[in-house]
Structures are given as structure tokens and as C-alpha cells.
Subunit: 358 residues, 2 copies
């Protein structure tokens, strides 16, 4: 019973000996694709957030391995590629998961067979994520349906950052239940937070607008008053890494929303595939939090009057900033985790995934 | 024992038959003043946030009455001016307080005496606020000194928005204790949140930089993780209206910080003068929350490469937004309120101010 969601523009597709990605640093102002043809292209695209979103980062890295092997499929090249790609971003564990799959498939086999196997494994990761998104959507839909039954009116979902189709190879994680509900004719409305400093909330607004889903953009600061006013029925966000105990790293600001949700009795859900769960990480203490540079905090990018994409300086050069890209929402603030295998409380992840998954 | 603080640039000063204000919509990029010569100039400056900050809004409106009376000091003109100015912004009660003072002073007297009395009353409000800031600084200093005694290292203060000298006629409210500590040689460090959508945090960063106070700029979203990491000793913010029970309206986002502070055992203080306390308002339900337009959320202002101050479009025109300019921090999340008469728990405001103050 999978939905027939097709990405309006593929976030990533194979194109001969390279891949074509949608350049997300230009959205929502420009829809442009980039062809990535070298390992360095791929590493640069991940580091610079041309591709972003935990599932998409993982799949892009997998294709990066295939691209790297085209130059030289011998062992040193393979391990080099794995190392370069693993070092691009630290928090989203999907990156390690995807590279782990590539290593497990490729390291044991002859160099001559690796290139074909690498493309095949990357394609499997891509297709697997699309299927996973559909399953997350199906399970999350039940939550929205249940609220719709109770409420006389539209179901008001709050999300953070972008965990829609742009973040994945399918229809998204946090937004998959929203799209599933919208497709069923259940009236939904989404509160979209800007998500400074990189404004990925604008990607969410763009996605929802294209899909015809009603939504309202707010400053990140406004999440508390919107919840205090009783205008949110459920919060659903994605994740970059879920520890074994359910502690969840996601885009910075998620934690503040979780605190406000708990205060106002709003259920708070994480939507994340198995590939985002790190059973090797007992709790939040083991999750590395990426610190990004001053420039993101000191600047803003947007469309100038001449329709050019420009960057403005908000704070002077040399302003001291801290720019943690993620924060941790402790398991105690999380109502449940929506996975491709169903929904569970944060402490029950092992029940859904009893064996080490590949 | 008042500090000798002098505003580096006066936020407001009388200049003959008008006033000169520092245009805060251009800061931190441009330091420009504007001369306001008519009632409409003054109303426009308050509405458009050329002057902002609850105490400064109140004083500016008081001068606006004097300016309006220069044209015609008869009764209809006076009540018209009071009405126009009262309608400029709804949340900061200092506006009503200052206009109430002007009305009480001017309505009973002959039209011929009103102009001089209006200037005099406005000057008294200005001077009174400067004295009030110094007293708030002195009382708040005790909190910082106490933390400094316990801690081996600098005292880490988090604030929100701008409640420094730019928001007042003196040294500020929330930042007054910081400046007092800095002047005493107590090492302080301030976490400054951007404060989208209007970025008044950049005003705070600018103030602190000019004053040589160490500080770090963060995205609003980062307040939770910074507190979770144990890097904040005290939160101090200003207020736009404090209800009789201690519920406090302040710049949107304050509430999220208060929730995070409570979660992590960080004391959370409001610094506010008597003029910000609305004893006529029993609790938060009576505080009107200003909703501002879509444009603030959909745009960002900054410095372009050619050094011009420009506005970029972040979200397309027509994007549906909600833009509450304030939120309410309930008294239960507030450790104490720092006033010119001392510090009290949010439920004890009447102990400090037992009689209706003028």
C-alpha cells in the first residue's frame, strides 16, 4: 500500500558516470541542478549543503564512492573515498551508515567488480530510502488521522528545518505523513519555522507550496507563542542521529520546540528511518555536534531587487559567533519515533529493530 | 551611588522645537539620526521601529505630545495626539504610562501653559528613565557579583533582543547589570541571540562591541543547546509589559529561552522599570500581543558588498506568515524581576510598588 509519490525534481539521479543533484543552496530562489563528476565534487556538495538532509547525505555519499572508483577501483582509492566522504559532515549518521554499506559490499570483492557493484549498491540505497519514506508516511498518517477524528477542523502540524522530499530520495520523513494526509483529503496545515541560520524552513515552505499544502511561515522565535495559543496539534521533525536510548540530534532549534511542546501537551514526534538510528551510540553524549562557521550566522542569503541571489552581511566581519548546526532533544521530550517499521516510544527502538540491520 | 553612564549617542534628545533620534532601523550598519518635527514624524518613528525598546518608546511618545502641541495646544489637539501616539504600538505599556503622565499633567491646565509643561514632563520622563536604568543596573549587579563569587571564571549572561542603552534613555534594563559588572572589572560574557525577524540582537552585539564587553552572537535556535551545555549562568531580558502577577510579555522568543532556562536550572530574570509594570492587567490574558506584517518574516536587511543597506527577499511575496512580535513568559518560569526598587519574585511586585505610581 505504498503511495505513488514521485519527487517533482529528483534530489539526486545517476547520469552516466556522474550524478545530477538539485542545488539546494539556491532554493527557493533558483531551481538549478549540478552535475557531480569527481569525489571532490561530491564531498564539496555535501560539505557546502548543496545536498542536505540526513537520508540524502547518505545516498549522495554512496554515489560518491562509485564516482571515486571510476578513476581507480583499487583498495587505496576505495578507502580514501570512504574517508573523505565520512569526514564531510559529522552529525548525520546516515552518512556512516551508507558508507558502511558500501564498504561491506565493496571491500571483499575484486577491484574489477567494484565499479558496477558500487553503482548497484548506491541505487539500492536510493530505492530503499524512497520505500522507507513511503512507509514512514503510512505510519505517520495514522497519527494525523487520529487527530483529524478528534478535531473539528484541519490538523495543525509544526515541523522544523526541512525533512521533506528535498531531504530524501522519496517523499521525506517528517513531511511524509503530511503528504499522505493531504493526498487522502485530510485537511492539514503546517507551521514552518524559518530555521536560521541556513533557512531550510524556506525549502519546506517551497515544497509545501508546490504541493498545495496550506502552511504558515514563522520566525523560529514564534514557535513558543504559537503552541501556547493552542494552535499546534502535533510536532513532527526529522533527525540526523537517534541514539539507542532515543535521544535525538536534529537541526538546531528542535530542542526548543520539544520543550515548548511538552509544556503545552503537544505530542512531539521524530520521523526517522533505521539508517538514522545509531545503536552504537547509547545516548546523546556520543553524538558529535557539528559546529559550522561564523559566516552563516553573520549573513543572510536571498533575492535582491534585480532577482539575483545575494548574500547580505548582518553582523560585521570578526563578530564572534557560535554556530552549532544541531541540538539534542532528550528522549524524555519525545512522544514517539516514526520509522518505516512503525511508531514506538523512544525507549523501544530495539523492539522495532531487534537485529543489526544492513 | 549611581554609575556615570552616558549614552555614546543619545537615543533621543530635544532639539529646539523637535527631537533628534538615533535611527535604529539602520543600525548596526549605519549610525544616522533623524529629526522629528511633527506628530506624524513621531508616530511613524515609533510604528516603524526607528525608536524601539519599551522605555524609549514611552519617552518618545511623551516628546511627541509636546511636538503636537506646538501646532495647536487646545484640547482637541491634545487628545488627538494622545490617541494617535497610543495607537502606534500595542504591547509596550510604557507607551500608555508615558501618555498617561502627559495627560495627567496637561489636561487640567490652561492651553497656554501646556507647551512648556509638555516639554518639562517629557524631560522628566527622560531623566527619570536614565536614573531608573542606573538603579536597575545597581540591583542586577548584585546578582552577577554573587555568581562571580561562586564561579571561577567569567559570568555568562544570556539575553534576548536588545534591552541595552539603545532601548532606553539610560544604560539599559537587561544590560544595565552587565555594564555595571563590566565597569567594576567583573569578567562578563554575553550570549546574544540574533532575534529574528528584526535582528535586534545585532543592536545588542553592536552596543557590547562598542563597550568592550565580550559576547558571542548565536542564531535564536541555538539558545537551547548553549544552555544544555552548561554555558549560561543567568538569563536577563527586558520586558514590554509585566502583568500584576508577573507574567511578562517581551520580544518573541523570550518564552523559549525561559523554558530552556528552567529545564537547565538557569536563573531567569526580567529587568524592567515600574513604567513597564501594568498593575491594571491581572495576568497575561490581558496583554495585547502585536502582530506585525509578513514582510518582516519574508525579508532580511543587511549590508551589501557595495556597503549599501539593502533588503533581500527570503520568501516569495504572498507567503503566508504569522508574525507575533512578542510572547508571554508566565510568572512560573521567572526567577525574579529586577526593578529600580530592587529585585523580587514575580508574585511580589506589589511589595515593591505598594501604591499607584505616577
Amino acid at each position: 500500500m505504498r503511495s505513488m509519490f514521485t519527487q517533482p525534481i529528483p534530489t539526486l539521479r545517476r547520469d552516466g558516470d556522474g550524478i545530477v543533484i538539485l542545488d539546494q543552496t539556491l532554493l527557493p530562489h533558483r531551481v538549478e541542478t549540478r552535475r557531480l563528476e569527481t569525489l571532490e565534487d561530491v564531498a564539496h556538495a555535501i560539505r557546502g549543503m548543496q545536498v542536505r538532509g540526513a537520508p540524502l547525505i547518505g545516498a549522495t555519499a554512496a554515489y560518491g564512492v562509485a564516482i571515486a572508483l571510476l578513476q581507480d577501483s583499487r583498495h587505496p582509492r576505495l578507502t580514501h573515498a570512504l574517508e573523505v566522504l565520512a569526514a564531510t559532515r559529522p552529525t548525520a549518521v546516515n552518512l556512516n551508515w551508507a558508507l558502511g554499506r558500501m564498504a561491506a559490499r565493496l571491500l571483499p570483492i575484486a577491484a574489477s567488480a567494484r565499479i558496477e557493484a558500487a553503482w548497484d549498491e548506491a541505487e539500492q540505497i536510493r530505492a530503499g530510502d524512497a520505500a522507507t519514506c513511503a512507509d514512514i508516511g503510512r505510519h505517520g498518517l495514522a497519527l494525523i488521522e487520529e487527530i483529524a477524528r478528534r478535531r473539528n477542523g484541519r490538523v495543525r502540524v509544526m515541523t522544523h528545518c526541512n525533512a521533506g522530499w528535498l531531504a530524501t530520495l522519496g517523499e521525506g520523513t517528517a513531511l511524509a505523513p503530511v503528504y499522505a494526509a493531504h493526498a487522502r483529503g485530510i485537511p492539514v496545515h503546517v507551521w514552518v519555522s524559518e530555521t536560521r541560520p541556513r533557512n531550510q524552513g524556506l525549502l519546506t515552505a517551497w515544497e509545501l507550496r508546490e504541493a498545495g499544502v496550506p502552511h504558515t511561515l514563522i520566525a523560529d522565535n514564534a514557535a513558543g507563542i504559537v503552541m501556547a495559543r493552542g494552535e499546534v496539534d502535533i510536532v513532527i521533525t526529522g533527525a540526523d542521529r537517534v541514539a539507542a536510548n532515543g535521544d535525538t540530534a536534529n537541526k538546531v532549534g528542535t530542542y526548543l520546540k520539544a520543550l515548548a511542546a511538552r509544556e503545552h501537551g503537544v505530542p512531539f514526534y521524530i520521523a526517522a528511518p533505521r539508517s538514522t538510528i545509531d545503536f552504537g551510540c547509547p545516548d546523546a553524549a556520543g553524538i558529535p555536534i557539528e559546529d559550522r562557521g561564523d559566516e552563516e550566522v553573520c549573513t543572510a542569503q536571498g533575492l535582491a531587487e534585480d532577482d539575483g541571489v545575494r548574500t547580505l552581511r548582518l553582523a560585521p566581519k570578526g563578530t564572534s559567533t557560535a554556530n552549532p548546526a544541531f541540538d539534542v532533544t532528550p528522549a524524555r521530550c519525545i512522544t514517539g519515533i516514526i520509522t518505516e517499521r512503525g511508531i514506538c516510544g523512544p525507549a523501544r527502538l530495539r523492539d522495532l529493530f531487534p537485529t543489526p540491520a544492513r
